[in-house]
């Protein structure tokens, strides 16, 4: 049941991504409206699929990395729809949905994230918080990419389609900053819980677990960016580069969880 719904949702995301990209190039308002509708429909299907899965399992659908990523995608799309309206950013979908789509495609692979013997509320909270953080950083990444593209247009003075479609630099800078400020506390709390839990369950905080180690790197990058922004005025391009660097570390983290042996994988 949930598998069918999930497949339908992914088909919906594919359609939404295609429409959003077409809108970016064609700038026909009708494409944007269709993309929004497709996104909304796919997200509703996704919601139902996740609920069905949770009922099926009798626990939160966060027990394997693929489940967790699926939930992360769900949060990403929710944030995308909200921020698009909040900032009047009609092109946001074109930059966020492709990333969400790539994530949701890999989430068809299944591999247990935690052993059946492990559990407890704090574990679910650890995974859930980290996921919301990751979702915010997907938006952070999209904002940074848009910023760099628009900044290139303005610096290069050869104004193309993107100059007209993308919003103002200040808007994009604010979007990157806000998403960073939103994601960071979630990621931090998620990681702290993970560290505490690891200390209790594995006996040591610094056991060699690729996912955990890589996530510390991502956290450090984001912490540096946030500090730089708050104290040193790292606006604009530098902030955008760091957002992309941090996101790369996050992707590595997920990749490590998927493909490398460690405590987070089976």
């Amino acid at each position: 049941m949930h598998q069918t719904l999930l497949t339908l949702a992914i088909i919906g995301y594919v359609a939404a991504t295609g429409l959003a990209l077409a809108y970016l190039v064609q700038r026909e308002e009708v494409l944007h409206r269709l993309a929004s509708l497709a996104t909304m429909a796919a997200w509703v299907l996704h919601t139902v699929a996740l609920l069905a899965l949770a009922l099926d399992l009798g626990r939160p659908p966060l027990g394997s990395l693929s489940e967790a990523v699926s939930v992360a995608v769900w949060v990403v799309v929710l944030l995308e729809m909200w921020l698009e309206r909040r900032y009047g950013l009609s092109v946001l979908g074109a930059f966020v949905l492709p990333v969400a789509l790539v994530f949701s495609l890999q989430s068809t692979a299944t591999r247990p994230l935690i052993g059946p013997t492990l559990g407890g509320v704090w574990l679910w909270v650890h995974i859930g918080l980290a996921l919301v953080g990751i979702a915010a950083f997907v938006l952070n990444f999209a904002g940074a990419v848009m910023y760099l593209l628009q900044e290139r247009q303005l610096k290069g003075k050869r104004l193309g389609t993107l100059y007209y479609t993308l919003p103002a630099l200040a808007t994009l800078d604010r979007l990157t900053y806000r998403t960073l400020a939103l994601g960071f506390p979630f990621l931090t709390t998620g990681l702290i819980l993970g560290v505490l839990w690891a200390g209790a369950a594995w006996g040591s905080v610094f056991t060699f677990d690729p996912l955990a180690l890589s996530s510390y790197v991502a956290w450090a990058v984001y912490a540096a960016t946030l500090a730089g922004r708050a104290a040193g005025g790292w606006h604009g391009r530098r902030g955008a580069y760091f957002a992309i660097l941090g996101f790369a570390a996050l992707v590595l983290t997920l990749g490590a969880g998927l493909f490398l042996p460690g405590r987070h994988g089976g």
Partner: protein, 422 residues
């Protein structure tokens, strides 16, 4: 509706001829009354701007009406008719409708999307109305043209992007800072264009405004005129540290804003961008300033390039606008055509319905024992037959009106079904 438009415009007539033919308001009234009095046009409207002189009219013999109107127009203005005749274009019926819609929507203007033309068309319409030269046909047509023009303006972006250098600079500022509320502006040097750009910025919320000039008195004078503050010219660097937008337009032979100055300033700005609008020739901002991080520097050539890009953008939007106009023309003609054939369709239906009810009544009178079911079946059967028979002729009538030639079909239907005079 035998509608036509005849005229000349910037597209085919040289400016000398256009200005010779352009008519002022009083003359227009006179002319409209004149041609209305001849009785060759039923309705007429004359649009006279610096880019076009056009007559919109409803006449039974369009060719004659066109020739007479322009002969009179030429006589009024003392222009050789042959010169006008050579460049005169004429559009009739559907093409005329399309032309009105395009003109009102500013798609036929020299600068696509310019806002004046709609007002000019509205004035011409009001004037023709005041001369009682506008009848139901032109009234419907122009009211619709105004609606289409509004739709084109709101649904496409043909009028969105700036086509003047000073407005283009303001748009760029908005693409950098989002809103201009509270963005500080520094005006270096004087000049019409820089003053204009400064005014645009202030209108969009930019504040405060500083003015620097080598001549202190001139700086004070400009500061007063623009409600800004004068700053001494040798304190430029201090001012640079606090402002967001700099408009430079001095007559200095050497750059007055140097890279090392800006470099120092940038370090203290904590990443806030700095936008230079350099409209001076030779340039006021040193070449290499542009490569600094967080600095956007547009000289006059860059701004002209932005304007060119904006014009291309308008052209792109014009395609969408043309498609929109095309749909509106089709809708308008369909409605108009339907208006023409609807009376015939109604009387055709009435005629067949009368036959049907008469026959049903006679049949039922001969079947006193018929059950309610039988009666109902007979009603349904006869109605179905009538509808099936009517389907083809009605469709044909509607189609013919959309194709613009309903007259012969109308006559034929009247003849065949004995509907009496049209």
């Amino acid at each position: 509706m035998p509608l036509f438009v005849a005229g000349l415009s910037h597209r085919n007539a040289p400016v000398e001829l256009r200005e010779q033919l352009a008519v002022d308001e009083d003359k227009l009234r006179e002319l409209l009354r004149d041609i209305a009095a001849t009785g060759i046009v039923r309705e007429a409207l004359i649009l006279s701007t610096c880019n076009r002189v056009e007559v919109y009219a409803v006449a039974d013999v369009p060719g004659e009406a066109r020739a007479t109107t322009f002969r009179r127009l030429c006589r009024h203005r003392g222009v050789e008719p042959a010169a006008v005749e050579a460049v005169l274009y004429t559009h009739a019926d559907g093409d005329a409708v399309r032309h009105v819609f395009r003109v009102a929507s500013s798609l036929d203007s020299m600068m696509i999307g310019e806002p004046q033309i709609l007002g000019q068309v509205k004035d011409a319409f009001a004037l023709a109305q005041s001369c009682e030269a506008v009848g139901p046909a032109l009234h419907t047509l122009f009211t619709q043209a105004f609606a289409v023009a509004k739709k084109v303006r709101t649904e496409t972006e043909i009028a969105r992007h700036a086509v003047s250098v000073s407005f283009a600079a303001v748009e760029l500022a908005k693409k950098i800072f989002a809103g201009l509320d509270g963005k500080a502006v520094l005006l270096v040097g004087a000049g019409k264009m820089s003053e204009l750009a400064a005014r645009h910025l202030v209108e969009q919320g930019a504040f405060p405004l500083y003015v620097a000039n080598r001549t202190w008195a001139r700086a004070q004078e400009m500061a007063r005129a623009l409600a800004g503050t004068a700053v001494p010219f040798d304190e430029l660097a201090t001012a640079l540290a606090t402002v967001d937008i700099v408009i430079a337009s001095t007559g200095a032979p050497e750059p007055v804003i140097r890279r090392d100055t800006v470099q120092r300033v940038i370090n203290g700005r904590r990443g806030r961008p700095l936008f230079f609008i350099d409209i001076a020739v030779p340039r006021d901002v040193e070449d290499t300033v542009d490569s600094l991080d967080g600095v956007y520097c547009y000289d006059i050539d860059d701004l002209k390039q932005v304007v060119d890009a904006n014009i291309r953008e308008r052209g792109r939007e014009a395609h969408r606008a043309e498609a929109l106009v095309e749909r509106e023309v089709a809708k308008f003609l369909a409605r108009l055509g339907d208006v023409e054939v609807i009376p015939t369709i109604v009387s055709l239906r009435e005629r067949l319905e009368a036959i049907r009810t008469g026959e049903v009544k006679r049949t039922l009178a001969r079947l006193p024992g018929a059950t309610p079911e039988t009666r109902e079946a007979i009603e349904a059967l006869s109605t179905a037959i009538v509808n099936k028979i009517l389907h083809a002729p009605i469709t044909k009538l509607r189609e013919s009106s959309r194709a613009g030639s309903p007259r012969s079909w109308l006559a034929l239907v009247h003849e065949l079904f004995g509907l009496g005079r049209q």
